[in-house]
């Protein structure tokens, strides 16, 4: 029979676990509601907003995609060179050089391209979105617009969702193109694999559908990143301390979701193929 302190400790522990599970459940319900309010906001968007919407969207794409191009380029060139040099060394050692193209298409094009583009966007734009919206909440901007009958989701959230989805899709394709180009440069210095062989093996390992797949995957990553970071910013409490908290919450959640969705994509794709 458990002694009294042991029983009390057990009950306190169970209560803490229960409280935690309940809290997470409520947060998940709130998240689903937020997704619902985004869908409603899109459905009820007045036609008159298209000009202002377009301006916010262009600014978002410029910040998320165009301004991130140098860092994505650097990363893609390095990763492309590294992966191809390493993969080539192993391919020669184990004798599967003919499968190198497919290997590279799988690792770089389908997996790393969208993933790295999403990581960079979470780190740059996710933090910016969460902190901007949390600051707007703290400074009373969102309340003031709501008081004038504006749906803050329509003005603040929807352009960011669309902008991030477009941006990550484009950045993933950009990353892939530069990583392949970097591989081409590396192969010119490798023995046993000419640039022509490299391009041929890639051609055999890839199809046009890979581009479509990468764009769709990137768009979903961008959508999820913006959704989570907007949500984190909008639900910030009205204190200055809430701003960094909501940034951390948004970025960590977005990162976990991006990796989880990436894993799900891989599972689905493996089963499908």
């Amino acid at each position: 029979m458990a002694t009294r302190p042991t029983r009390e400790l057990t009950l306190t522990g169970l209560s803490a676990v229960g409280g935690n599970v309940r809290g997470r459940g409520l947060t998940a319900v709130e998240g689903v509601r937020f997704v619902g309010s985004c869908a409603r906001a899109v459905a009820s968007m007045p036609r008159s907003v298209r000009h202002v919407f377009g301006r916010v969207l262009v600014m978002q794409v410029r910040f998320t995609a165009v301004d991130a191009m140098p860092i994505i380029a650097g990363l893609a060139l390095l990763i492309g060179a590294l992966v191809i040099a390493q993969a080539h060394a192993q391919a020669v050692r184990f004798g599967f050089t003919e499968a190198l193209g497919e290997l590279l298409a799988t690792i770089i094009v389908r997996e790393l391209g969208p993933l790295f583009a999403a990581i960079i966007v979470v780190a740059r734009s996710g933090t910016a979105i969460a902190s901007e919206l949390a600051t707007s909440r703290v400074m009373g901007e969102i309340t003031a617009l709501e008081a004038l009958g504006v749906d803050p989701v329509q003005y603040f959230v929807i352009p960011r969702l669309v902008g991030c989805a477009i941006s990550v899709a484009l950045l993933a394709l950009y990353f892939d193109a530069l990583a392949i180009f970097s591989g081409l440069l590396v192969t010119s210095g490798l023995q046993g694999l000419s640039p022509a062989d490299y391009l041929e093996s890639l051609r055999l390992g890839m199809s046009m559908w890979d581009g479509v797949f990468v764009a769709i995957k990137g768009a979903i990553f961008g959508l999820v990143t913006a959704l989570v970071c907007c949500w984190a910013g909008l639900r910030a409490a009205r204190t200055a301390a809430a701003i960094p908290q909501s940034v951390t919450r948004g970025v960590v959640t977005a990162m976990v979701l991006v990796f989880t969705i990436s894993a799900l994509f891989t599972v689905v794709q493996t089963l499908w193929m």
Binding site: H51, G140, A144, A147, D151, Q154
Partner: protein, 219 residues
């Protein structure tokens, strides 16, 4: 008598504040009611009137509706019929003053962009904000920000205005000019002021005093 805003024995705001004595007052159509108070009281009062929170007890009625009970769509429609100024002013920091006026007109009132810009420009002229129209609010002095917030509230051309401490940084001459403008444009006004002087009193049909001793008609 058509009552636009009515508080019936409201003891406070749920989850936030409970006042020493319940608040009751009516703002009939076509009048300007002035509440002399401080931010700790006026903030909850305006939040209740605009449906951002619900009363602990009693009733808050705005244009015959209970804002706290309205759904998402209805509360937005009610708010679109009221020009409001709240504290903090809530000017969007990354928009210019002109766009701060345009965005609510486009998203809230459904005006086409060009029509909203025309309306905003008219209001910018009336409020003497031309010099700052392309500036962002963060770099502007307090009185310019207040004029911009008032311009945003007036640009929707509503019959009702709810203004929380709208002219605190203005001199007396400018206060008179802007209040005359507000009275010309809106039929009914509920104004809370934290100003100690009496300039606003000249325009009020009724003056209320609200402090720790309660909410009462001023002498």
């Amino acid at each position: 008598m058509d009552v636009i805003v009515e508080f019936r024995h409201v003891p406070g705001e749920r989850g936030a504040v409970r006042w020493a004595k319940p608040v009751s007052f009516q703002v009939p159509r076509g009048t300007l009611h002035l509440i002399r108070t401080r931010g700790a009281f006026s903030g909850p009062l305006f939040r209740l009137a605009l449906g951002f929170s619900e009363p602990v007890g009693g009733e808050v009625l705005v244009q015959g509706q209970l804002p706290a009970t309205l759904g998402r769509h209805d509360i937005r429609r009610l708010r679109r019929g009221i020009g409001s100024v709240l504290e903090p002013d809530g000017l969007v920091a990354n928009l210019t003053i002109r766009m701060n006026l345009v965005v609510p007109l486009v998203y809230g009132n459904g005006l086409e962009f060009d029509a909203a810009v025309r309306r905003a420009n008219e209001m910018i002229d009336v409020m003497h904000l031309g010099l700052w129209a392309e500036e962002r609010p963060g770099s502007l002095p307090a009185e310019v920000r207040q004029a911009a917030v008032l311009a945003r509230a007036l640009s929707a051309r509503t019959d009702v205005l709810m203004l929380e401490n709208p002219l605190a940084s203005m001199d007396n001459r400018e206060t008179r000019r802007l209040l005359t403008l507000c009275r010309t444009q809106a039929e009914t006004l509920l104004v809370a002021t934290h100003r100690p002087d009496g300039v606003l009193h000249e325009f009020a049909d009724a003056i209320w005093e609200w402090d720790d001793d309660g909410f009462r008609m001023a002498a």
